[in-house]
């Protein structure tokens, strides 16, 4: 298949001076001109500006119908890449070939003017995004219906709530029908029903064989929507591939942690003369070591330790903390077979299974410890040695139901719900009257 976007050796250099100062004054330039001969004379003088590469030798191809997420920390080059793709800024070297019309949804509502009415802004915004007047007229009713603000279409948008404003803006952009649509964190717009509509619209776009580029530093949102991710860091592509694979690379580099940690025997492994840690890892149901787990699937935390001195009651336990260091929970060994039973020497593997549909999306660090409970004594505690990430794709059923936005909290159990219904008083009397008659 032929790609719809082909990016070859793309680089973009910025002078930090320009980034910081924003603009030069004429005086600076005049001074530069005066100094120029002096600087020429001292050929070894360092350049006045430091330069940085916002993008460096970026190569990728995107095929029709793909939904690709571009992730990376702030300053990784994501927005620069989008700006180059949307022809807002020129690359320094390299090139991009576009085989379709590109429409960007960068900060929806670009060009909306607060003094103009909703109707006027639809036309203005449509024209700015590259739509023909006839095209906008043709789709006007559809756009307004999609935004659900028919009643206020002739009100200046400065009187709109921010939600109404964004809905209208998103509707215009969603009806742009480009072959390539670039979206920059917009799905946090509006209520659940509107988000669902947006997701459906994206699905439609994808099924049309159009391409969506989704840019975000919100890993959870991106893994939910995209099958393929491109991970940028300091202007360089670190990883490009299936979502779970890239998500795990991203996690690994961000938490500086892996899904498995081993210690060589006789090394500085955590432990004492009684017991010593050998390894800790994350496993999925299939037994594979992984650091990316689907939210619906169970995840196993496994530690291998060696008992060097017999006769002690040992309780393995795990400590789960969030990315920002908040304690989420502690799990202690519940295996009845070893309950209060002194352990002979040898190697042990203790696995704790966290059920599916229990943790919420996001990354968790895991610490592993072995303790004796009476009296309390900690033999070793390897803090935050490994980490894993719970991800969710928006296909299939999970505890988030039809809601597509961010859901706070460390746990997201799939609960069983019941409903009791009591008709309102009016209905009650109707029913009673009905019964009497």
């Amino acid at each position: 298949m032929k790609p719809v976007i082909r990016v070859q050796n793309l680089s973009k250099q910025y002078r930090i001076g320009t980034l910081r100062a924003g603009y030069q004054t004429l005086r600076d330039v005049l001074i530069d001109v005066i100094r120029l001969p002096v600087r020429r004379a001292r050929a070894t003088a360092p350049s006045q500006y430091t330069t940085i590469w916002a993008l460096k030798d970026v190569n990728f191809e995107i095929y029709p119908g793909e939904v690709v997420g571009i992730i990376g920390e702030n300053g990784a080059g994501k927005s620069t890449l989008l700006k180059v793709l949307s022809q807002v800024t020129e690359p320094t070297t390299g090139q991009v070939e576009l085989y379709g019309r590109i429409g960007s949804l960068l900060e929806v509502g670009t060009g909306f003017h607060p003094e103009l009415t909703g109707r006027e802004n639809v036309y203005l915004n449509g024209a700015i995004l590259g739509m023909r007047r006839a095209e906008i007229e043709h789709k006007f009713d559809e756009i307004v219906a999609f935004s659900e603000i028919e009643a206020f279409i002739d009100t200046p948008v400065k009187f709109y709530s921010s939600g109404m404003y964004l809905r209208l803006a998103f509707s215009v952009a969603a009806h742009l029908n480009p072959e390539i649509l670039m979206i920059d964190e917009v799905l946090a717009v509006g209520d659940a029903a509107f988000q669902r509509k947006c997701l459906n619209k994206m699905k439609e776009i994808r099924e049309d064989g159009r391409t969506i580029l989704f840019v975000s530093h919100n890993m959870q949102a991106v893994t939910r929507l995209c099958k393929r991710l491109i991970y940028l860091s300091h202007g360089v592509i670190v990883d490009d591939g299936p979502s779970d694979q890239v998500a795990s690379t991203y996690l690994g580099s961000r938490l500086q942690s892996t899904s498995e940690k081993r210690w060589e025997i006789n090394s500085d492994a955590p432990g004492n003369d009684i017991t010593r840690l050998c390894s800790v890892r994350i496993r999925n149901e299939g037994g594979e070591t992984t650091d990316t787990i689907d939210i619906r699937r169970p995840v196993g935390i496994e530690m291998e330790f060696e008992v060097l001195e017999p006769g002690h009651v040992l309780v393995p336990n795990y400590h789960f903390t969030s990315e920002d260091g908040v304690y989420v929970f502690v799990a202690t060994d519940q295996d009845p077979e070893w309950h209060r039973r002194p352990r002979p020497t040898g190697r042990y593997i203790s696995t704790a299974w966290i059920p599916g549909n229990f943790l919420s999306e996001g990354a968790l660090r895991v610490g592993a410890a072995v303790s004796t409970m009476s009296p309390v004594f900690v033999h070793f505690f390897a803090e935050s040695v490994i980490a894993f990430q719970v991800v969710e794709s928006h296909e299939g059923h999970s505890a988030r139901g039809d809601y597509a936005g961010p859901m706070p909290g460390f746990v997201r159990p799939l609960l069983s719900w019941t409903t009791q219904f009591q008709p309102s008083a009016d209905r009650m009397s109707e029913v009673l009257v009905g019964e009497r008659a």
């Binding site: 576009l98 095209e135 049309d208």
Partner: protein, 312 residues
């Protein structure tokens, strides 16, 4: 941001047509990938050809931007478009009272209000267009850093928006002239020279466009322009025959005086309307200056526009 060669550009319009026929229903819009890329994005050389095809494609945006400027200017004003009429009338009144009646600026036997109005007519358009252009690009920074379109549309739309006021001022002029001809019985005579007026109108618009493009582009990088320009414009007004007729300028200084391209244009406006011989030398200067300004504006704009998004 070089445009592809003509072949590619043609295939671009073709594909766009295919997609726009697939509007409405959203599921029947499968598109096939063209053999050649629609757009190739790469570093351009400093001097690239003007993207005429691009400009044509975005012509409707020019209209929408100008329309926005007009709408926004008179939104939330009590009098609305009445201000378009009021502004030049008030200016004429002020100058008539202070210069015509108090300072007794000679009007060459013509009614001073007509003399000053025919000068203010092109001048007001020119100065408001230039000053409007100065911050046009900077004021639209949110567009420039987010969406691609030919940047020249922004100052061009700013000028286009002022054309409405320009046109309305002409209607007002017609009223004034009728008043002086039939009620005050001032002998106004229209000659073949009136045919030159449209040429002068085009010249003043193009001159404003050229200068407007230059100041808007330079102001993106050097904000000094925006600060110093109002002063220059003020000075320019007094070195042009706006509030006084050319006759006030001593004969021996006229050649020097006409090196100001606006002098010939403004005095030309006055003489085509009120009578008097047109000065060929001054009009030649204006024409040459307009061509030079437009050419250098195009050059400066093409050179700087690729970095607008980075420095704005």
């Amino acid at each position: 941001m070089a445009l592809p060669d003509t072949d590619n550009a043609l295939s671009s319009t073709k594909t766009n047509r295919i997609t726009s026929t697939a509007i409405g229903g959203s599921s029947d819009g499968k598109f096939s990938i063209p053999d050649k890329p629609l757009v190739v994005i790469k570093a351009s050389r400093s001097w690239t050809a003007v993207g005429w095809i691009d400009l044509w494609h975005y012509r409707e945006l020019l209209y929408f931007l100008a329309w926005r400027d007009v709408k926004v200017r008179y939104k939330q004003t009590l009098l609305g478009v009445v201000w378009v009429v009021m502004q030049p009338l008030l200016m004429t009144l002020i100058f008539t009272v202070f210069l015509g009646m108090l300072a007794r600026v000679p009007a060459g036997g013509r009614p001073y209000p007509l003399v000053v109005y025919t000068g203010l007519l092109p001048w007001t358009f020119f100065s408001s267009a230039i000053l409007g252009c100065t911050y046009s690009l900077v004021g639209n920074a949110n567009l420039i850093t987010k969406v691609y379109f030919p940047r020249v549309l922004i100052p061009a739309a700013s000028i286009l928006a002022r054309l409405l006021d320009f046109g309305i001022s002409f209607v007002l002029l017609a009223g004034l002239m009728l008043y002086y001809r039939f009620i005050r019985h001032y002998p106004l005579q229209f000659t073949w020279q009136l045919a030159v007026l449209p040429i002068l109108v085009v010249l003043v618009i193009l001159f404003a466009l050229g200068l407007g493009m230059i100041v808007s582009a330079l102001n993106v990088k050097y904000r000094d322009i925006g600060v110093v320009l109002p002063v220059i414009v003020q000075l320019w007004m007094f070195t042009s025959p706006v509030v006084y007729p050319l006759e006030v300028v001593p004969e021996r200084w006229r050649t020097l005086y006409f090196l100001n391209p606006l002098a010939g244009l403004i005095e030309g406006f006055r003489r085509t309307l009120l009578g008097g011989e047109l000065n060929r030398f001054s009009l030649a200067v204006s024409t040459v200056a307009t061509v030079i300004f437009l050419a250098s504006a195009t050059f400066i704009f093409r050179r700087t526009e690729k970095s607008f998004a980075d420095v704005i």
